[in-house]
Structure formats: C-alpha cells, structure tokens
Amino acid sequence: MNRNRLFTHDRGPRKFWERALSFVMLTGENCFKVPVFGCQRCGECLLSHTAFICCQRCPKRLRNGPCGGTRDNGHCEVFPERFCVWYRIHRRARFLGRNTLLNSTERIHNWKLEKTSAWLNVFTRRIPPPTLFVKRRRHES
C-alpha cells in the first residue's frame, strides 16, 4: 500500500472474501450512516473530520470546504432550496469544537473505494482511522 499526501494508491477490496465482507459490512453501515449522517457510501469516510455531516452530499462532491457559490442565507448555489452542506459543517464544527479538524487538506477521492465499507477500509489500513475525540480548545474570538 502506497499512500502519499495527495492520493491513495489502492485498488480497493479485490479478493472474494474481502468483497463479500465489504458487502456485508456496507449493508450494516448503510442502516445507520445513511439515515443519520446522509452517507453517500464513498468508502473514504470523512465524517469525523466534517462534524458528522457527510460532505459528499455537496453537488460538486467537494471534500475540502465550500465552493465560492454559497448564498447569503447559507443556501446551495445549485439547489437554492437546500442548505450548503459545508455551511452546515462549519456551523456544527464550531458548535462541537471540532473546527481544527477542518484544517487538513483531504486527499483526492479514490473511486476504487466507492461503494465499499469504510470501516473495513479502516481495518485494512486503506484509509486513516476516524478522529473521534478532539481536545476542546477555548474559542478565541
């Protein structure tokens, strides 16, 4: 497994047992992550970094923050009736004290991991584990 700053070089689960396990685990994950977080099954879960709102619901599937088109009321430029996902992420991250996690540049999405189980990918070390606890820092501003 070769991982660099920009991109994960990985072909995803390929062996039969791994694919079967991924399918079973993904079905389990779907029951929880889809209704609770709006998970889009990208297989490279960023939920812990994005204050537990799935950033892949953004129409542009941005992984690094909002595009320049967020409206004044915080709505999306593509679907004006919806809130911008990243607007909600930033609001909730501030509320939960998890804004430091938004500082890192996320890697380019590996499409080979699409529709695979993110937890399996964590256990097989394809993606970094989630950051569950953050030291709360006093808000400066």
Binding site: L6, F7, P59, T70, N103, I108
Partner: protein, 299 residues
C-alpha cells in the same frame, strides 16, 4: 518582466480577464488581445458558467503569439484527473506558464444543463496536483522527464459566508502552493475590507499576492443581475442607486471602476487588481489610463 518576476518584485500588478469566443475562428481573439497590451497577465476563461467556448489553452496559445502573457483558467467541472494532467502537460509544452485553478461553475447554469458534472478533484486538490507536477511527478507517482514550471494561482470569494470557511480555504490553497489569489469583483468595499482585515491577521497576504477583482459595468441591470442571480456575490446598495441615477451609465460604470481601483490601491495587503470587463474588453485601456496604471514600468 513577466508575471512571475513582477510578483517577486514589489510592483503593482494588473491582470485582466478575457472570454474566448463561441466560434472556431481566431480573428476575434487577436482583435480582443489588442486591448490587453498594457496588463501583466490575461486570464483566459475555461467555458465560463458552463457555456461552451473555444478552449482556454488554444486561446492562450494565440494570445502568446500576440505577445501577451496568458493565465489559463483550469476548472474541475469537465475533466477528470487524467484529462487535466494531460492538458496541463500540453499547455506547458506550448509555453504557457501561469495557471489559475478553479472548482468551476455547476453545469446547470450553462447551455448544457444536462451534462454530467465531473468534479473529480476540487480546486485545492488541483493546486496540490499542479505543485506536484512542478516537482516532477504525476498523480500516479510516475516521474516526468521535464517538469512543468507553472505559476499557480487560486480564486477567493470574499463575500460568501461564513467568513471562517473562506479564510480556511484560502489558507489551504496557499499552503498547497498558490502564489497569487484573484478575488470576485468588488462592489461592496466595506465587506471586502472586512475580509482583507482577516486575511492580514492570518498573515496570508505575505505568502501570496492578493489581486482584487474589479468589474466595470455598463448598466444598472448588470448590477441587479449580479446581486440576484450570481450566487455568492454582494453588491452595495449605493452602487445600484448611483448607477440608476446616472445620465450616462457607461461613463458612470467606468468612473465607479476607477474609484474602486483607487480605493483598492490604498488598501494595505492588496498587491494588484484583476480587471473583469465582461463582454466589454475595449474599455480596459480607458480604465487603465484613467487610473494612471497604463504607464507603470515598461516591460
């Protein structure tokens, strides 16, 4: 002096934006290029707002032949990582040295709303990708025989909210290798100053050159369109009332642009301006003349 050298010196920088035509002819580009002889870099838009136009790299090559210094805009809307890397290698081989990395407008705003949006990368990852190509590696890890040597730029929107997210994204762009930052057109100076203040607090203006966007408008309709239809844009009510009461809206638009430029030049932390004369390229020399920017330093 090219754009890279000007960025390294203390000179005031003027870049402008040009839209390639919706035709297969090159005459229009050459004609438009004549208006931009006095600027340091000409941005060539990449199918702006999702409307099909002549390719930005081809138009940049024509501009290069006309003696201008082109800055190609590259969006992630239409190309995946394979196409972007291949296009960037091609552009580098044709002598293009400057690139502005953008995420790109969603296709529903353009003339092909049915198109499949790609967004394989986003602008920050694109900047990181170009930085890697400048160091001589492709995304796959393959080494390039000749590395590209792009001057990388990024865009910023000072008006969209929340401000924290804007500053964060700007920080990510600069830490991944953006050397100049061009902003959306400024029609609301107080909000812009607020943003510049935050940028200066973070010390970002020392790591990258901030070029503030200035757009001359012809009519009050253009301003209200911008306020209502362009997401993430902010227009100060004073601008609209000024344009609405003007006898000659074109002249008033030029005067307003010149005033904005003068105010921006006094703003600490701003290294230059980025002119966006949308569909009104011929006004560029007039504005530069009126704001005493036409005879800066001779190249």
């Amino acid at each position: 002096m090219n754009l890279r050298e000007r960025l390294e010196s203390d000179a005031f920088i003027v870049t402008a934006e040009m839209g390639p035509p919706q035709s297969a002819g090159h005459g229009v580009i050459r004609k438009k290029a004549a208006h931009f002889t006095r600027v340091d870099g000409v941005n060539i838009t990449d199918n702006q707002t999702g409307i099909v136009r002549l390719s930005s790299i081809a138009a940049a090559r024509i501009c290069l032949e006309e003696g201008l210094e082109p800055v190609i805009q590259v969006t992630c809307r239409d190309r995946n990582r394979i196409a972007i890397q291949s296009d960037l290698l091609g552009a580098a081989a044709m002598g293009i040295e400057n690139i502005l990395c953008l995420t790109g407008d969603y296709p529903t705003f353009g003339d092909h709303p049915e198109a499949r949006p790609v967004y394989d990368l986003d602008s920050i990852q694109l900047i990181a990708l170009v930085s890697a190509m400048n160091e001589g590696t492709l995304l796959s890890g393959q080494k390039l025989k000749t590395a590209t040597r792009y001057l990388i730029g990024g865009a910023a929107n000072p008006f969209a909210r929340p401000l924290d997210a804007r500053i964060l994204r700007l920080k990510k762009k600069i830490s991944n290798g953006a050397r100049f930052i061009q902003t959306q057109p400024v029609f609301d100076l107080p909000a812009f100053h607020q943003w510049v203040e935050r940028v200066r607090q973070e010390g970002l203006n020392e790591k990258a050159a901030l070029l503030a966007g200035v757009m001359p408008v012809k009519s009050v309709r253009a301003l209200t369109f911008m306020r209502d239809q362009v997401p993430g844009m902010r227009v100060h009510p004073d601008c609209i009332s000024r344009m609405a009461s003007a006898k000659d809206p074109e002249e008033e638009g030029v005067r307003m642009a010149v005033e904005t430029i003068n105010r921006l030049r006094e703003t600490p932390g701003i290294r230059g301006i980025h002119l966006m004369p949308l569909l009104w390229e011929s006004i560029t020399p007039v504005i530069l003349e009126k704001s005493n920017l036409a005879r800066r330093t001779e190249p």
